[in-house]
């Protein structure tokens, strides 16, 4: 099992434990974490599972593919640590990863 720590835009924190192999988006949706809509169901084609990844964890992630980069490009709230959480598969090395959800998904 891998732990994911979600912080919402107002600062309130919730942790969930999920099996390796699922995405951060799925971890959020299956545990009722609010702030992630995931309208396209995880196919990297809507940008409504946008999260800000804690900078300490950024280096451990696989580089984003061009599709994710393009979809994030349509967000008005993109920052350097923006990722689509459906594209981050949880592995043992990511145990404890911390992400913040934006105020709005767009």
């Amino acid at each position: 099992m891998v732990k994911v720590v979600f912080t919402d835009h107002a600062g309130s924190e919730q942790s969930v434990e999920v099996a390796t192999g699922v995405s951060i988006m799925e971890a959020a949706v299956s545990n009722g974490i609010s702030g992630i809509d995931a309208d396209c169901g995880g196919s990297c084609s809507c940008a409504t599972c946008h999260v800000y990844v804690d900078k300490a964890w950024l280096g451990k992630l696989d580089a984003m593919n061009p599709d994710e980069d393009a979809m994030l490009g349509l967000s008005t709230d993109r920052q350097d640590n923006s990722r689509l959480s459906c594209q981050i598969r949880l592995r043992d090395e990511l145990d404890g990863i911390a992400v913040t959800t934006p105020e709005f998904q767009f």
Partner: protein
């Protein structure tokens, strides 16, 4: 005016030989099914045709139609594949089914591929981003309240004209900072831009062009005003001052303005009307809503699915490709029928029903997916949420009287008129 604009040979009139109105969807030859003719859409006969294609020919070639040959894609997962593969399926030259003269050949970013699409869209999307919308919520609510408070109780009136059009037009005027007293011009231009000659709004394409020239002249005046002022938060100011758009040729400016007018007008308008109709068709859903107003946000997504205010988007194959077993050649038209994907029971259970508390209601196709996903989706959802919150404060029931009149179009799926009678909430 370009001659290519006037092309009346494409016979899409109601009496055209291409109409499928009144025909049995299951006994006609499969290859004769032509979803692009507006007749079955206006007469509300389209669902069994879509169902047959999903079952028997999910990627279907229509070789002969008034609008030329095209592929119809009707299953949810195939539509998703086309929508998310812009390197295979291009949005250029147009996203409408007719080539050469139709509304969207006036260039705008909906009919561009990356990178130009991304650059132009980025300039204007801020105005409809949730952060900006938060500031607009109070104003939208106030305007919705004024409109609803002015409606007659217990007597028949046209909901489309008094509520759906009025609310969306006021909102558009706000987003453009358009002269408020002239706002009905926006509705007119929106209707004309997508109208089919002979379908009731215009008789020919000259009339369309006269209206479009007036539209361009008006927006050019506003552009000149805004470019000489400090950058503002309205759409015209954003276009006039934006790096990627400030040197736009006039026709491209017109195209982007029309895109924003049509995108922000017809679609939300028809979803406001469609929601009322759906709750009348499914009274037990109306009961659920009456007993729990917190279902409104979920219901809004479900209404947008059930209505599917734009029936399709077109792509054009950039290369030879294969989709669900069918060989598609470079240059062929591929129509993604969102109105069908949203009825695909492999993905959506009991799709013909509008279910206010449907699980995963947000996973509908009405906004499209991928780079061209509807830019105004959050504005649309907010308008619908607010109008329903305010409706439920005031009325026990909005009763639809008779059948609504539907629009003559296979693209804009909506209502020209729908009479209703309001029943006020009983005093507590």
């Amino acid at each position: 005016m370009s001659d290519s604009i006037v092309n009346e040979e494409i016979d899409r009139r109601p009496e055209s030989k291409w109409s499928m109105v009144g025909k049995d969807p299951y006994s006609m030859p499969l290859e004769k099914i032509d979803l692009a003719h507006p007749g079955i859409w206006q007469e509300n006969e389209f669902l069994p045709f879509l169902k047959r294609l999903r079952e028997e020919a999910p990627v279907h070639y229509c070789a002969e139609s008034a609008t030329g040959p095209y592929w119809s894609v009707t299953k949810y997962k195939d539509i998703m594949e086309v929508d998310t593969s812009p390197h295979i399926y291009s949005s250029e030259p147009t996203i409408g089914i007719v080539d050469a003269y139709e509304q969207f050949t006036i260039p705008s970013f909906i009919s561009m591929d990356p990178p130009k699409h991304d650059e132009q869209r980025r300039v204007v999307q801020g105005v409809v981003a949730p952060t900006n919308l938060k500031a607009l919520e109070g104003l939208i609510r106030q305007r919705a309240q004024t409109i609803l408070d002015g409606l007659p109780i217990g007597e028949e009136f046209d909901w489309v004209e008094r509520v759906s059009i009025e609310l969306t037009t006021q909102m558009l005027a706000t987003l453009f900072d358009f002269p408020f007293e002239d706002r009905h011009k926006l509705t007119y231009w929106s209707d004309v831009a997508t109208a089919i000659p002979g379908g009731g709004i215009i008789d020919n394409n000259e009339q369309r062009w006269a209206a479009m020239e007036d539209c361009l002249a008006t927006f050019t005046r506003l552009w000149n005003e805004r470019i000489n002022a400090e950058p503002g938060n309205d759409l015209i100011s954003m276009l006039a001052h934006g790096e990627a758009t400030k040197n736009m040729p006039p026709m491209e400016y017109l195209g982007n303005i029309l895109l924003l007018i049509v995108g922000g007008n017809d679609t939300t308008r028809n979803s406001i009307t469609g929601g009322v109709l759906a709750l009348n068709q499914f009274p037990e859903e109306y009961d659920k809503l009456r007993s729990d107003h917190s279902l409104i946000p979920n219901m809004v997504s479900e209404i947008i699915r059930w209505q599917t205010p734009l029936a399709y988007m077109r792509r054009t194959a950039k290369v030879d490709t294969v989709l669900n077993g069918q060989q598609i050649k470079k240059g062929e038209k591929v129509i993604m029928w969102y109105a069908s994907g949203n009825q695909d029971d492999e993905v959506i259970e009991n799709p013909e029903r509008m279910i206010v508390d449907r699980p995963n209601a947000r996973q509908h196709l009405s906004f499209g997916f991928g780079l061209h996903r509807c830019m105004g989706n959050r504005l649309a959802e907010m308008q619908l949420r607010i109008v329903w919150e305010e409706i439920m404060q005031r009325f026990e029931r909005i009763e639809v009287v008779g059948e609504p009149e539907r629009i003559y179009s296979s693209f804009v799926k909506g209502y020209a008129k729908m009479n209703v009678v309001l029943h006020p909430k009983k005093a507590a």
